[in-house]
Amino acid sequence: MTTSDGSAAAPVERVVRVAHPQGLHLRTSNQIVQAAARFVSDIRAGNLSRPSPLVNVKSILQLMQLQAHAGHLLRLTAVGVDAQEAINALALLIDPQSSTSPQRSENPHSSEMHNP
């Protein structure tokens, strides 16, 4: 998704509930990381249900720092040409019940976890 002048679109943001009963443990996290790796966009996640860093969704070691359990709410933010597709795909993986309607945000988190 690019604007007419060719620059990247605004960040795409979405809040998803963790549906997997095991939460984001090794196996589930691995699936999410594999899916995220297919997109060029930068994808970050934070756990709204407990204090957590903002992490890179393409890193399994960072993703597990969210300590996400079933029912926790995650905020996903993607920036890049395929941000919308990335968010849709990941939201569906984290919660298969989630609808595909996007939420846009002009104010992505400024703090982020670069290198832990």
Partner: protein
């Protein structure tokens, strides 16, 4: 006799000889030479990384081919971690920007993630630190140019070895020779770590958290490892333990086979009597574990620990939010919330007692009577939480309110008067009526007055740790091991049997929520004595449920009758330890 107490992580009772073995964690080789140019060091990292990935994939295929599913899944998980993008980025930076050697880059990068995981408060996620440590050790081993000598104490130990280690890596478990290693004792470790999962699947008894002192025992010393109740005993008393060759094979037969399964419904005895196995819960995170381990609700919510981190006494809102969260998590399963149980070694961080007050010497309900606002606030918060959940019809919360340290029947009357007053103030008789009042039997006087107490409440709940302590005038903080042994003493069993008779006559549920409830070896004994529900640490629930399903109540009663006739704890231990049905596996 010298006993070390830890946390049981894989059941089974075995005799063997101690062998202290350094873990790969402590053997990390360091490189002799200063770093070569960055591109050379980076090539070494890439080569070791590619080699380790190939090894892991090969191992996963091999394990999958021979049906070792737990091993294969772990290899795949490790592959995923090792492929992590940030690991490679950070190592690249360490080599190119910080001019580190390959070894130092691996140490630093993996070390940062070890520290991050170790600092997590959720034990399920924190246990992943060991997986990262494991991969670091394997990376470092591959970086070492000199080949290690072949003698691996894990693969070729003397027969009947009880391995004693500081901690254990999953890759080390995979190297273990199960023909020769009878059991594993760890100074640290976690029952939730992958190493423990693998040990269970291999049927090797494992005890963790024994403390550093265990690393200083003598190699070759005979010892008895009990993976079900979490102990390692040196120079065991001859009459206490089976020492002849025949019972040693019996000990072997006690090993479980196959992975422990989590049962998400109420377990039944062999003839079909349901026995709820519930969880002891201290924190909100632990409440999340209840469903994971198949707990049939919460049998003991220790509210004094739930709010232990609060600087001031928790408000009604804070309390009701927490209770409502837990009730929702349980989705209708029973929840026994214990009133604040301060006193003794559990002093409240926020209860302000006037100078000269004797709060330290008062405990449980007696302390609550001295500070009735504690109890009023708590009950008010509970009613509000129940109201909040009642809006959702599917969440018909079953709430029990446990009164700690009851000594006399009239104390239950007094509590009820207090609670009725709160219900009236809240104008919520409906919520109040849905709360079942239960008395904790922890003081011998309450056990002897159980009939009168049962007439005043809906349920009796035995706190076996305190009951054993007060029965024998023991000092629980000093003599944990002794108190535990006392919990299986015939004097204690006779007291539980009395409670069983009273509860049966009154048609009143009898729960037991002390440490004893988490020991699957004791499960049939407790059922035979008349206990109808058990409440154990979440991780112990699958084992206890497996034990429940292995017996009929009649078999349990026969076992209990034998134990009641015993003269000392040793005879009781022999009775339950000798019973080969007591741990999972066997000939089912």
């Amino acid at each position: 006799m010298n006993e070390y107490r830890g946390v049981g992580a894989s059941p089974g009772r075995v005799l063997g000889k101690a062998l202290i073995c350094p873990s790969d964690l402590e053997n990390t080789p360091t490189r002799r030479a200063p770093p070569a140019p960055p591109h050379v060091e980076w090539q070494r990292i890439e080569a070791a990384h590619a080699q380790l990935l190939a090894n892991l994939r090969l191992r996963a295929t091999e394990h999958g081919a021979v049906g070792k599913r737990e091993h294969a899944a772990l290899d795949e998980a490790h592959t995923a971690i090792l492929s992590d993008v940030s690991l490679m980025e950070m190592m690249h930076e360490a080599v190119h920007l910080e001019k580190r050697s390959a070894e130092a880059a691996v140490e630093a990068t993996f070390g940062e993630f070890v520290a991050l995981f170790s600092a997590l408060d959720d034990p399920l996620f924190a246990a992943r630190a060991n997986d990262v440590r494991d991969l670091r050790a394997q990376m470092l081993a591959l970086l070492v140019s000199t080949e290690q000598d072949a003698a691996d104490p894990l693969a070729t130990p003397p027969p009947d070895t009880i391995l004693i280690m500081r901690d254990l890596l999953p890759s080390e478990v995979a190297r273990l020779n199960p023909q020769r290693i009878a059991g594993i004792a760890l100074a640290h470790g976690s029952p939730l770590a992958h190493a423990a999962i693998l040990a269970r699947s291999m049927g090797i008894p494992l005890v963790c958290h024994l403390g550093e002192a265990v690393l200083h025992v003598h190699d070759g010393a005979p010892c008895l490892l009990d993976g079900a109740h979490g102990s390692l005993t040196f120079a065991p008393d001859a009459e206490l333990l089976p020492v002849d060759a025949a019972s040693q094979t019996a000990g072997r037969a006690l090993r479980p086979t196959g992975e422990i399964t989590v049962l998400h419904q109420v377990q039944r005895t062999r003839e079909g009597v349901p026995v709820p196995v519930q969880a002891n819960v201290n924190t909100l995170d632990e409440a999340d574990l209840v469903g994971r381990y198949g707990g049939d609700g919460i049998g003991l919510l220790r509210t004094e620990f739930l709010f232990a981190r609060f600087g001031a006494s928790p408000t009604i809102d804070e309390q009701s939010t927490c209770y409502a969260h837990i009730l929702k998590t349980l989705a209708g399963a029973p929840c026994a919330i214990r009133a604040f149980d301060f006193g003794g070694e559990k002093q409240s961080p926020w209860l302000r007692t006037p100078p000269g007050d004797d709060a330290e010497t008062r405990r449980g309900v007696r302390l609550l009577f001295a500070y009735p606002d504690l109890l009023r606030t708590q009950f008010r918060a509970l009613l509000r939480a129940i109201r909040a959940t009642r809006q959702d019809a599917s969440l018909q919360a079953q709430v029990r309110f446990l009164v700690p340290m009851v000594a006399l029947p009239e104390e239950m009357d007094k509590v009820r008067v207090l609670l009725d007053a709160v219900a009236a103030e809240e104008a919520d008789a409906e919520s109040a009526a849905s709360v079942a009042l239960a008395a904790m039997i922890e003081i011998p006087s309450s056990a002897l007055m159980a009939k009168e107490i049962a007439a005043r409440c809906a349920m009796l709940s035995i706190g076996s740790n305190d009951l054993a302590q007060f029965l024998f005038a023991g000092d629980r903080s000093q003599q944990d091991a002794a108190a535990y042994a006392n919990a299986l003493h015939p004097a204690m069993l006779r007291m539980i049997a009395h409670l069983g008779e009273v509860a049966a006559a009154a048609n009143c549920p009898l729960s037991l929520c002390g440490e004893l409830a988490g020991n699957p070896l004791a499960t049939p004994l407790l059922l035979g004595l008349g206990v109808t529900e058990l409440s154990a640490p979440p991780a112990a629930i699958p084992l206890v449920k497996a034990a429940v399903g292995r017996y009929t109540l009649e078999e349990c009663r026969v076992l209990a009758a034998q134990a009641l006739a015993a003269t000392d704890t040793a005879a009781v231990l022999a009775l339950i330890g000798d019973d080969q049905r007591a741990t999972p596996g066997g000939e089912e």
